[in-house]
C-alpha cells in the first residue's frame, strides 16, 4: 500500500470507485422499484390488456357483419329487379283485360 509505483497508483481509487458505483446502483434500484410499484399498483397494464383482448375478439363479429351487409346488398338488387318485373306484369294485366273486353264485343 505504501509503494508508490505507478501501477498501484492507477489502482488507487479502484475501491472507492467500486463503492461509489455500488451506491449509485443501489439508488437506481430504489428508483426502479418505486416506479415498478407505481406501474403495477395502478394495474393499468392489466386493464388495458384485458380491454384490448376483448376488442380483438370482436374481429370475427365484424367480419360476420361485413358478410351480412354484402348479402343484404345483393338481396336489395334482387328485390329491385323483382319489383320491376311485378310492375310490368301488372301493366300487362291491364292490357289483357282490355283485350278480353275487345274480344267479347
Amino acid at each position: 500500500m505504501t509503494s508508490a509505483s505507478s501501477t498501484s497508483a492507477r489502482s488507487l481509487f479502484a475501491d472507492s470507485k467500486m463503492r461509489l458505483a455500488e451506491r449509485v446502483q443501489v439508488n437506481v434500484n430504489y428508483v426502479a422499484s418505486l416506479v415498478r410499484q407505481i406501474v403495477r399498483g395502478s394495474k393499468s397494464n392489466e386493464i388495458l390488456m384485458h380491454s384490448a383482448r376483448n376488442f380483438a375478439l370482436q374481429e370475427h363479429t365484424i367480419e360476420n357483419t361485413e358478410a351480412n351487409l354484402k348479402k343484404l346488398q345483393t338481396l336489395c338488387n334482387n328485390l329491385g329487379q323483382q319489383q320491376d318485373h311485378l310492375i310490368r306484369t301488372c301493366q300487362q294485366i291491364e292490357e289483357v283485360k282490355e283485350q278480353v273486353q275487345a274480344m267479347q264485343r
Binding site: S16, S42, A52, T61, T89, C90, M103
Partner: protein
C-alpha cells in the same frame, strides 16, 4: 514512504492536528510546481521536517505525491477542513504563532513555499470563480477504512411525504385513465355486437321478402302467358271470321248464311 519519513523525522515545523481552524491557511502545491516548488522548509534550512517525499526512489515522475493520498484518502479529514483549505488562498501568507514540539501524525500540511498573491489576485476571473463555488459534501461519506453510517442524515433531509403523495396521485391517475379507456372499449364492443345482430335480422327479413315476392312473381308470370295466349286466340278468331266471310261470299246467294254476328251471352 512519505508517512514513515514524517514519523521518524518530525520537527517543530509540523503542527498539531487538534487546531483545524489554524490549519486552514496551510496550502500545499499538490501539482508539481517545476518553477518554484522547491522542497524548502519554511523555518529551517533542512529537509527533515517536511513530509513531502524526497527525490523519488522509483521512477514515477508523473505521480510524485502518491503517498499523501495513499495513507490519507479523501474522506479521512472533516469536510470543513477540506473546504477551508480550498477557499482561502490568500491566508496562506499568515504564519502560525505557536510552535509545537510534539510528534505530529501524518495529517498536517506543510507549506513548501508561500503563495504569491500579486496585485491582480482579486480580479483574476479564475480565482473569483473558485471563490464562488458553494460548499459541497463528497458523494460518499464512508472511506476505505471508516465505514460511516451517514446515510440516515441524507435520508432525513428528504421529506418522503410529498413524494409519496405525488406517487399515489400518479398511480390513481393511471388507474382512472385505464378504467375510462376500458369502459369506452366495452361500450364499443357491445355496440358492435348489437349492430351485428341487427344486420343479421335485416338480412333475414330481406331474404324472406325475396322468397315471397319470387313466389308472386312466378304466379304472375302465368298472367303473361295468359296474355300471349289471348292474343293468339284473338288473332285466330279474326282470321277465322275473315275466312268465314270469304267462304260465305264464294257461295251462291241462295246458300249464303246470315252474316256472322258474335253474340255475347
Amino acid at each position: 514512504m512519505g508517512s514513515e519519513q514524517s514519523a521518524s523525522q518530525s520537527r517543530p515545523v509540523s503542527f498539531e492536528e487538534s487546531n483545524p481552524r489554524q490549519l486552514n491557511f496551510r496550502r500545499q502545491h499538490t501539482i508539481a510546481n517545476p518553477g518554484g516548488g522547491n522542497a524548502e522548509p519554511p523555518y529551517d534550512g533542512e529537509r527533515p521536517g517536511s513530509t513531502s517525499p524526497g527525490p523519488s526512489v522509483c521512477s514515477d515522475i508523473d505521480l510524485p505525491y502518491i503517498s499523501y493520498t495513499v495513507n490519507r484518502p479523501i474522506g479521512a479529514d472533516s469536510p470543513k477542513l477540506t473546504n477551508k483549505q480550498q477557499s482561502k488562498p490568500k491566508s496562506s501568507q499568515r504564519k502560525l504563532q505557536s510552535k509545537n514540539v510534539k510528534k505530529t501524525p501524518a495529517h498536517n500540511i506543510v507549506v513548501v513555499k508561500p503563495a504569491l498573491s500579486g496585485p491582480n489576485t482579486d480580479r483574476d476571473p479564475d480565482i473569483l470563480r473558485l471563490q464562488a463555488i458553494p460548499m459541497f459534501l463528497p458523494i460518499m461519506r464512508a472511506t476505505l477504512n471508516l465505514p460511516a453510517a451517514r446515510d440516515p442524515e441524507v435520508l432525513e433531509r428528504l421529506d418522503p411525504v410529498p413524494m409519496q403523495r405525488m406517487c399515489s396521485r400518479y398511480q390513481n391517475h393511471m388507474y382512472t385513465c385505464a378504467n375510462l379507456v376500458a369502459t369506452e372499449q366495452n361500450i364499443l364492443t357491445q355496440k358492435i355486437r348489437e349492430i351485428d345482430l341487427d344486420v343479421a335480422k335485416m338480412v333475414a327479413v330481406a331474404s324472406d321478402r325475396l322468397k315471397n315476392f319470387s313466389k308472386h312473381q312466378d304466379k304472375l308470370k302465368k298472367v303473361q302467358e295468359l296474355s300471349h295466349q289471348l292474343n293468339k286466340c284473338h288473332i285466330l278468331l279474326n282470321h277465322t271470321l275473315e275466312s268465314m266471310e270469304l267462304l260465305n261470299n264464294y257461295l251462291d246467294i241462295e246458300d249464303r248464311l246470315e252474316p256472322f254476328v258474335w253474340t255475347t251471352g
